[in-house]
Symmetry: C2
Subunit: 661 residues, 2 copies
Amino acid sequence: MKRNLSILFLSALAGVAVFAGPDYPITPANITDVAVTGGFWLPRFETNRVVTVRADFDKCEMARIPNFTNAAARTWGTFKGIPFDDSDVYKVIEGAAYTLSTHPDPRLEAYLDRLIAQIAKAQEPDGYLYTARTLGFRSFDEKTGKPAWGQTMMGPVRWSNCGSSHELYNVGHMYEAAVAYMQATGKRTLLDVAIRSADLIDRTFGFGPTQIKMAPGHEEIELALCKLYRATGEKRYLALAKTFLDMRGRKDLRRTWNANLQDHLPVVEQREALGHAVRAGYLYCGMADVAALTGDSSYVNAIDALWENVVGKKLHLNGGIGAHRHVKYADARLGSAGEAFGDEYDLPNENAYLETCAAIANALWNERMFLFHGDAKYIDVLERVIYNGFLSGISLTGDEFFYPNPLASKGGYRRSKWFGCSCCPVNIVRFIPQIASFAYATRGDVAYWNLFIETDAKLKLSSDSVRLVQKTEYPWKGASVLEVEPAKDGQRFALKVRVPGWAVGRPVPSDLYSQTVPASEGDVAVAVNGAAVPLKLDKGYCTIDRAWRKGDRVEVTMAMPVKRIRAHEKVAADKGRLAVERGPVLYCAEGVDNGGKAFDVRIAADASFADADVDVLGNRLPALTTDAARADGAAVKLTLIPYFSWCHRGAGEMQTWFAEK
Amino acid sequence: MKRNLSILFLSALAGVAVFAGPDYPITPANITDVAVTGGFWLPRFETNRVVTVRADFDKCEMARIPNFTNAAARTWGTFKGIPFDDSDVYKVIEGAAYTLSTHPDPRLEAYLDRLIAQIAKAQEPDGYLYTARTLGFRSFDEKTGKPAWGQTMMGPVRWSNCGSSHELYNVGHMYEAAVAYMQATGKRTLLDVAIRSADLIDRTFGFGPTQIKMAPGHEEIELALCKLYRATGEKRYLALAKTFLDMRGRKDLRRTWNANLQDHLPVVEQREALGHAVRAGYLYCGMADVAALTGDSSYVNAIDALWENVVGKKLHLNGGIGAHRHVKYADARLGSAGEAFGDEYDLPNENAYLETCAAIANALWNERMFLFHGDAKYIDVLERVIYNGFLSGISLTGDEFFYPNPLASKGGYRRSKWFGCSCCPVNIVRFIPQIASFAYATRGDVAYWNLFIETDAKLKLSSDSVRLVQKTEYPWKGASVLEVEPAKDGQRFALKVRVPGWAVGRPVPSDLYSQTVPASEGDVAVAVNGAAVPLKLDKGYCTIDRAWRKGDRVEVTMAMPVKRIRAHEKVAADKGRLAVERGPVLYCAEGVDNGGKAFDVRIAADASFADADVDVLGNRLPALTTDAARADGAAVKLTLIPYFSWCHRGAGEMQTWFAEK
């Protein structure tokens, strides 16, 4: 907490404008105010801080950071890689900054300072920052002499191919890193780079007669500009974010039917999630942010409908989105798309794409939807992502990564240390530290308890601050305790305790998936200092409005039976199949536990499950066993493990949606 | 005149804003309203229109225009030449546009349209136009691998080396061409390119916290932005011109002591002309324009003092400025300079540099000084330039050019068809057509008759317009007639007739040069319809204020004795020497007329001169003969020819400042 005070002081010294405009009605917990102290997530946070930050930087030092040092030295012709590689470095800086927020580390900070100094030098005098062009990168096919992929992507000159150049995407990630680093250290070094960049882009793009009228091909800068606006108070950045939103799908300005880039319709008219799922998720985040910061409800109407569309028809059970590696839409005008949403209910398993970055985008979007509406259903989706389709993206060791996260495999998948396009590893490193801040939020004198994570947190309420110390065995067991420590005894505020949808019969807030062993509200109990609280749910919350005293204990207890999940009948891939969940965790069967075979096993609808343990790289994880059958009818004692932990013991078969025997 | 009306109509259709702010108190004649009809200048104008425009474009087609067509096609790596070569093309377009103003030529206009279309395509999406960078030009020394000259000049990235990149200089010339083409044809094609460029630069440079704080290394854009402001009414362009002026010499913003670029002091504090003479001349033009358009008198104080400094101490007799190819200033902080002003009274002859472009800049500056102050002394300087040190820069054939214009030679000079740095040929082609517009000007109901050129002109006075038809044998004889045709009989206005300084004893408006055969006012006579007008001179003008009737004839008669010129005693190079002038024309002796020797001939202070003719490439030019002596005392009948016509009959000796025998 002391560190946070000193940051505020440094920020004031540095002349950072205080943000004072309208924003989301609900305020998330400050990332620097929530320390993870134990339980399931502490190893994940520590692995991220100690292993993944270092592993990502090591990889970047080999192939991405040299582009910055070369650009700083203007050694033309030395660019290596893909033009969007710049963003990878920014994302690791953002992640590292979050770890500094809670774990000061002078050596890491000094390393970041040196790196940021090179980035500042790599920036051109007018604020342009894109090492590929500054280094004169050109890539031509040696045989034909025609422009090769990297060249086609970046276009021949600045801003000439915004649809794919990632010029705006790259700096968007830089803005996020800059705000994170300023908040963590009080240093404006990277923020100044961000401001110079954003000012250039603000001058360059817009509806003015000689400004460029293009939409960023890969959305990201919209939400980043909102962060930069909050950090600096500069309203032009918010206006620019809105401009970029409003530039999409404008057939009066540009010929565009590119659904892959969500550029087929004006965003306020979009009702179906289409195209590249990461782009879409970031776009919806940007729309939510701009709606919150400007009060423009047309964006809210659109993202509400898009959310219903995704959660009702395009969400995989692991929380993943973007079903297909490649999709060609039936409406020929929409063209084709990559790493993209398919048609409604088109949710394949073995061939599901479900990029780790898309899971992150989905979580970030649902957090924002919660901040708008204060409904726990959005946290239900977020929670489904973080325990399943996101968490599978990173190995328990913290240094191997999945790009796609399918729900079944015949053995072709394996995590990698790094990728040519390595967006996912560096997205993970910046996402994990944010999870703690999703645990709580406030609205005036209302405190939201959203996630069950062992934490020591401080929340700022209207009346005064409050410290919340949480103990939990989640996600393995359903008991959590929150110790309340108000700033002064008798402080009155409402604590809204989230009762997860899975605990009251709704695995997702739509009819896309249902539980065949429905729970009732009786399976959940909330108590204060041992006295039961009536479980009257409002938007998924049980509200405890009282005068709090130091040491008050709130206990939540949820039964965690094993549940069988069925998909909506229109989901062809899951027809006649069931999946297994316990609490927020999706289970799967893996070959290594089951005689090498898992893809084709069958489970009876009324099968019973027994607890078991499984050792995954030294981690004892709760497993399940049940009587199942092979495709040929042979009986087999099937072991199921948490889906996120699959593929740690060699590549092999995996299944989540089991045919019913 | 019909053409001009249609232009106004087209301009209105195209939505060109009407300029209505403050400007110079005096308005020059519209270039489209003055047709040269005969006499000395008609062959020069026709040769420029028919020969020089074509010759310059032919050269540009070989080596400069391909950079635009390649940039339009984004064929990276194909740039040839020097990064400032773009400006050459713009300057020929400007010159060609002026010829279209008076001589419609559909084939030339179609050629320009095609060329402008390529320039528009060569412009990057955000308005950046600089073919060298768009084509990825890099130039490295093959042996050392270090950046070569062209690379060092342009700097590694956009705007990183504004001191020498000519990024702003190039587009400045483009703006001038764009305005000229719009005025000539009503077409906005190039003007739209100019607006996109100027908007980009306006967004990029300035005193804002994240804008670039650099002064253009080669001034030009300042005066061009003023033209663009007048053509569009866009006040930002005027403000940007002022910004660029005020950015110079700002040691609080940038470390700068670069006198070569006039960047050693804030411009309003400059009192001595220093550095590169073309840059300086254009800077002073920009200061005059901004002063006129904003009413800021601090610029006027500075350029008044600078003018006194140049005309009093740094002006060569041929009107040239920029005495040295290279100069190292005594004040070490000022460094060294090229094509530059030397110290006061440091006016060498054989080694004088006196670039043709500097003569043009000097003339353009003096025209502006006249528009400010309404004093004929500025036109005296302008006239000295156009008949001597400018005109020597182009051959009588219109296709060969001098870069430096020295006042003596031992035979090493010869005009060239083109240069590696070919600024002069393309500056000449756009300057000659402007000379006609310098002949007249207006201020309310006052008409200025400044130059004696055979023309048919229309002037707009406050009351009504007036047509002026001039006949003259100037510069060879001193009689000129102006036939006045007012819009309606009895129209009252004042006609100010310029009486040149040379005709009343002052060859230059300073004590730098004096005439040893002083003229008196009696040598000049002005009459209206045969009746003498009292010769009461005010600021060098004889004013005739009356009600005019169609057919009124104003006659000016000036005696044109041969005069001996002596320089101020502090001019070491001219000590004990005299020069010969008649009317506005400086004479020289050339080897070809004088037995191969001219450098070392001597003339007596009281020598008498006889009229003669000389044939220069088929042009009969008035020559002089006199009794002179060789260095060894041998008598010689010396032939002198107009200085501007030297070096048309082979390279050889030449002299203007003759030692006295």
